[in-house]
């Protein structure tokens, strides 16, 4: 039984998306110098992400979507342009532990139980034992893994491990959640279930989420904003503000509005290839 999504407001947009800008990129450039010559992973990328938005980045391989996410996380350094997260530089935001990051692989430590795995960021950030225990219980409940605290990662399926990884990213209450193709390695049935769960989490926690994906239906289903990117050089082709309501059952994927947005995304992707 999943918790219900929040009510839609009159304009049909999610009530939580505010005007405050959380991530601001302007004319961002990232060029890798390789043995074969420079690789323009990002060229002239400008984007404003409002607080409470669910932004999906979609595009073919090599379009720079993961690179852009890693720039926000200060795991890569841009070679040109400006990027601010929560009003500070990306690295300052990283040091302030402003975001949780979910990778494509769950990356849980095999020598720790699920509970201790979730406690990892809490230990590093110096939360008290009492605090840790409360947060672990709360976050396991959020991803519906409540009985699995004492289990080891090898005892869980791929989908459950990924949920545990999401729980770990949520444990320390960062306002920003960065997710890099978290469901890419999972089958479609589990993927659908987890998509619903992410949407429910987003509604419940009101975080700003940046989500990288390959899948057009996933991007359209989850987001308030869809950023279409194209490769060589990596750039933004289109930014689509989704008119879909906040309350989205999986059936919404068969509605004409959904198909129209998906069509627009597809056009954006094709345009990127054409250039």
């Amino acid at each position: 039984m999943t918790a219900p999504l929040p009510k839609v407001d009159a304009q049909g947009t999610p009530a939580q998306v505010s005007d405050q800008i959380v991530i601001q990129a302007s004319h961002l450039d990232l060029t890798f110098e390789t043995a074969d010559g420079p690789v323009h992973a990002l060229k002239d990328v400008s984007l404003d992400v409002p607080k409470g938005a669910f932004v999906s980045f979609i595009g073919p391989s090599g379009c720079g979507k993961t690179t852009f996410l890693r720039c926000i996380a200060a795991l890569e350094t841009p070679t040109g342009g400006a990027l601010t997260v929560n009003g500070m530089s990306a690295d300052e935001a990283r040091r302030a532990r402003a975001y949780g990051y979910v990778f494509q692989a769950a990356g849980l430590y095999p020598w720790r139980t699920i509970g201790r795995n979730i406690a990892l960021p809490l230990e590093i950030m110096g939360f008290s034992k009492q605090d840790q225990a409360e947060r672990i219980a709360k976050v396991l409940d959020l991803v519906e893994l409540s009985g699995f605290e004492k289990k080891y990662p090898w005892q869980l399926s791929g989908g459950m491990q990924q949920r545990a990884s999401i729980a770990r990213a949520l444990a320390f209450d960062a306002d920003l959640l960065l997710m890099d193709e978290p469901f890419g390695a999972l089958d479609e049935i589990v993927r659908d279930r987890l998509n619903e769960e992410v949407l429910r989490l987003w509604a419940k926690t009101s975080k700003t989420i940046a989500f990288v994906t390959h899948s057009i239906p996933e991007a359209v289903y989850l987001s308030t904003h869809i950023v279409v990117m194209s490769p060589r050089p990596g750039r933004i082709t289109d930014v689509i503000e989704s008119p879909l309501p906040a309350e989205r059952p999986l059936d919404i994927r068969d509605t004409p509005e959904f198909i129209e947005i998906a069509h627009r995304v597809r056009e954006g992707l094709r345009a990127g290839y054409g250039e």
Partner: protein
């Protein structure tokens, strides 16, 4: 029950677990048979001397003439006089049963009935092998502990400091290429001149041989977490120390145990080599004494005991590894 445990159980039940045994037994029995055969040409000089003294006709007739003849030529020319080959007092190559007898007498018989044995005097006899084995074991374990600690410390330094990475590894490799048999007396003499003798020089030689596998294994283990894990730590803004204790060290435990098995065997070799110059007890000293007095059965008995000791130590490390990995949750 885990897959591995189920498979093991079913194999024991159906009897197929023992399928590997006949080939192994066959090989062992073959080797022992070969050993018995090899005893004959190895001991032929002494055997024919004995036969000559007992009045048997031997060709060539004198020991001086026999000395220059080839072993196999003597064997083939005197097949009637070779009966004593397997029961000589000072054989070049003792027969297996002679070694086993020597082993039994130096351990069980010596301790239970010897004048200085365990039963009569309350401590292990210094003529028996058990005392010597314990002396060697002592040096082995102390050296192993020192070597392991040193290895881990060096590995942590190599992983965290570029300077150490480039400077320590070549020297560590060079240190292992110097023959230890040549280096051991030097170490002992140097340490003796600063007043360190007894257990410590042998432990130093053991540590010398055992630190290298630990360094190599630990460096690999400490570097084993992949880029994604390191990125995750960066997103938490974790300090280098936190990364070391929470990620690198636990990830390196399987690599550490693999190295420890090699290190403990190397440590035993070091202890034995360290006993050769000083000869104040231990299996190495025992082997050397056996070679001085022509008691080859003693040499072989000490050799087998040393091999058995090495096997026991490696098995002990493997058992600790199983238990540790299970407690860490890394094996079912």
């Amino acid at each position: 029950m885990s897959d591995a445990a189920v498979t093991r159980r079913s194999r024991i039940k159906s009897g197929t677990a023992w399928l590997g045994l006949p080939p192994v037994l066959a090989v062992i029995l073959g080797l022992i048979a070969l050993w018995y055969v090899a005893v004959v040409p190895m001991n032929v000089q002494e055997t024919l001397t004995r036969a000559e003294r007992a009045g048997v006709a031997v060709t060539p007739a004198t020991a001086v003439d026999r000395r220059d003849a080839g072993n196999w030529a003597l064997v083939l020319g005197n097949t009637h006089a070779l009966g004593e080959s397997w029961s000589l007092d000072r054989p070049r190559l003792p027969a297996p049963h002679q070694v086993v007898t020597e082993l039994y007498e130096s351990t069980w018989v010596e301790e239970t009935t010897g004048r200085r044995g365990l039963v009569r005097s309350g401590s292990f006899s210094n003529r028996g092998l058990i005392h010597h084995a314990l002396v060697t074991l002592n040096a082995t374990l102390v050296g192993f502990l020192i070597g392991t600690t040193l290895g881990i410390v060096l590995a942590v330094g190599i992983v965290h400091s570029r300077v150490m990475d480039m400077s320590v590894m070549p020297w560590a490799i060079v240190s292992q290429t110097i023959p230890i048999v040549a280096l051991a007396p030097m170490i002992i003499v140097v340490l003796y001149s600063v007043g360190v003798q007894g257990l410590l020089p042998k432990a130093v030689i053991s540590a010398y041989l055992s630190f290298f596998p630990v360094v190599v294994g630990m460096v690999k283990g400490l570097r084993s977490p992949d880029g994604m894990q390191m990125d995750l730590m960066r997103t938490y803004n974790a300090s280098t120390l936190a990364v070391l204790f929470k990620l690198r060290l636990p990830a390196s435990v399987p690599y550490l145990f693999a190295s420890l098995k090699i290190a403990v065997a190397a440590s035993l070799v070091g202890a034995i080599v360290g006993e050769l110059p000083v000869q104040k007890g231990g299996l190495g000293a025992r082997m050397l004494a056996g070679s001085y007095y022509g008691q080859t059965a003693q040499i072989w008995a000490a050799l087998f005991l040393a091999a058995g000791l090495a096997a026991l130590l490696v098995w002990a490390i493997a058992a600790i590894e199983q238990r540790t990995l299970r407690r860490m949750g890394m094996t079912p």
